[in-house]
Amino acid sequence: MSMVRANGVDLHVQEVAPIGEHRGTVVLVHGMTSDSMASWFLTLVHPLAEAGMRVLLYDLRGHGRSARPATGYRLDDFVDDLEALLAHWAVTEPVYVFGNSFGGTVAFTYAARHPDRVAGIVTIESAPPTATWFARMARRLARAAETLADADVVTHSRPLFARRVRDASALLAETDIGEQLPASALPDPAAFTAITCPVLCLYGADSAVQELAEETARLVPQSRHVVVAGQKHTLLIKAPDQVRAEVLPWLATRVH
């Protein structure tokens, strides 16, 4: 397992080399609590490598196989991690940043901070760090904590299964993510006008996240929004074919 110390935390990373000629670099950022780099790895890594992309992935702090510090879960901590990893990977060209759910929020925030370092953004079921979006995430974190506390009791008698639940519930039980992330200092909305790169936002038609599309379009006017019928917040893992069908042609017009 490849671990990298970045921004003071040991993060689990993977890198997949482009197949054929190098055409660009993409970093894939996953979502909150039960998500990990696996949702990207199983869906888009190989097609992106085939498209000539150097593909970089990591597990967010507290998630997947990355370290789980007790504290340090503000939005800026996650964005600092991405910044430190891109330095570790020695990425010098503008990078494509793809984000699933909260990962998209990290992508928008990083791009607002360093607009010249980002070539393009793709988000799935996500939004920039607005007050509305953070209020929703706070509710989701609270609900997840309750669900996992119940699951812990049921599975404790089976060691290998206990291991699975342990990792997800430990983030909520042993860290202050539930308090810190919702209390993050949010960037001034004007900061998003600095983002001039192309932006593609995908939503599931049956997910409430698409209600945030209007505000995203106002903050990042060049963003293109696509709603996938019959899908919920799990769009990436439930409908990888539709996600690929939107993302790959979008990318192909920009890297060649």
């Binding site: 080399a17 696996a38 790895f41 199983l42 869906t43 190989h46 097609p47 291991r163 699975r164 893992i237």
Partner: protein
């Protein structure tokens, strides 16, 4: 089972034990072992094999291609034998002398 598959299975079993840590000490790992139901592995555990496979076999085994046909649910139903066969096939295809 061909001898090269036996060697690959031994490699993969040792990678799996290290992924599983303390939980993997007593786990029996055969070609029929499933990642999720038998080993309790999550999709991230399977994905975390990528770095170990790359370190062991270099670019001759394209793990991203192997898993790209799977979704987050079917990756759990995967048998160790499927990965072992894929690795053995990939190694067979590496041209001699490389």
């Amino acid at each position: 089972m061909p001898s090269d598959q036996n060697a690959v299975l031994a490699d993969v079993a040792s990678m799996l034990r290290s992924v599983l840590g303390d939980f993997g000490d007593d786990a029996e790992i055969t070609m029929d072992t499933t990642f999720r139901d038998d080993l309790g592995m999550e999709s991230i555990d399977v994905v975390s094999l990528a770095g170990r496979l790359q370190a062991r076999y270099g670019s001759s085994v394209n793990f991203a291609l192997f898993v790209s046909g799977l979704d987050v649910e079917s990756v759990g139903e995967l048998r160790v034998g499927q990965l072992v066969e894929y690795i053995a096939d990939s190694l067979d295809k590496v041209p001699a002398g490389r």
